[in-house]
Amino acid sequence: MSTQHKVFAISSPGGHWIQLTRLCAGLEAQHQIVYALPDKLFKPKGQQKIYSIVDVSADDKWKLIPCALQVGYILLKERPQVILSTGAAPGVVAILLGKLFRIRTIWVDSIANVQKISRSGELVKTKADVFLTQWEHLSDQQQILFKGSVL
């Protein structure tokens, strides 16, 4: 069939990660997926390749620097064709670096953001090649698309 793509999947731990893994579970058969997650508690399942990165949130901006260095290194080493993120801060870092490295980027805004696009999503709304919300009413059908949700 069509060619397999290498996808770099990255998110914060917790709910963002749960959503990311549920989406990737449906993509692993078609694509090679490399993960990055700021969490030491997670154990990979089977063949999954997971990089552990520095935990970063909007509250501790100085950690964005080591996080960006790590993500940059992984991108240069793995050379993915696509970056996929559900947020939050580590996803922003990856999308911005992806833009720099000319890698195709896909953002799926967390289902938790029902009233408005997330703060991290707002930062990459105009940067990501594909920007998805999981709520139909938040879609503008141009830049912000609704194509389904994890629940």
């Binding site: 069509s2 793509h5 996808v7 731990p13 917790g14 709910g15 963002h16 990660w17 749960i18 959503q19 549920r22 989406l23 449906g26 993509l27 078609q30 694509h31 969490d39 508690l41 997670f42 154990k43 949130s57 909007a58 509250d59 064709q81 696509v82 996929l84 195709r104 896909i106 799926v108 967390s110 289902i111 938790a112 953001n113 029902v114 009233q115 997330s118 703060r119 090649d129 594909v130 998805l132 999981q134 194509k147 389904g148 949700s149 994890v150 629940l151």
Partner: protein, 157 residues
């Protein structure tokens, strides 16, 4: 056994204390995941953080899940066919960095098998009828598959 989990980012003492005090009075077994909480349960067993493996084991053994209004726990509870009560963190009480969990509570309440509480009083009313709380059915398969198919196409584009 009731499993109460507050996620990894922040403590949620208001929730842990509420469940602990209720369970102590009722003599019901509780396992609590309390993150960096300052309130240490007097009745419930507790862990601060759990591996995914330990978390999943606790989830399977529990008859009821109680959680902060975080997406991760709701998704896993629904997938495991367990009823879940969620209480939202309040920005005003310094429990989160914004109030999105309060916004989320409105639509979460519409999911079958998900029960919502804003206060300890709300939570106690639900806990007093915990035997009658039932799990939702697996839902949203079609919506999830549609999203995955779209992402698959976007990856290939």
């Amino acid at each position: 056994m009731i499993f109460v989990a507050v996620g990894t980012q922040f403590p949620f003492d208001r929730l842990i204390r509420c469940v602990d005090e209720w369970a102590a009075a009722q003599g019901i077994e509780v396992l609590a995941q309390i993150a960096t909480g300052g309130y240490l349960p007097k009745h419930a067993r507790y862990e601060r953080f759990m591996t995914t493996e330990a978390f999943n084991t606790a989830l399977q053994q529990a008859s009821l899940i109680i959680s902060h209004a975080g997406m991760g726990n709701i998704i896993t509870a629904i997938e495991s066919s367990k009823p879940i009560i969620v209480m939202n963190r309040q920005y005003e009480l310094g429990e989160h960095r914004n109030n999105h969990q309060a916004d989320g509570l409105e639509w979460m309440a519409k999911l079958p098998g998900v029960y919502t509480a804003k206060t300890c009083e709300d939570l106690r009313i639900l806990l007093d009828q915990h035997d009658n709380l039932s799990a939702g059915s697996q839902l949203g398969h079609e919506r999830r598959q549609r999203l995955i198919n779209f992402i698959d196409q976007a990856i290939r584009a």
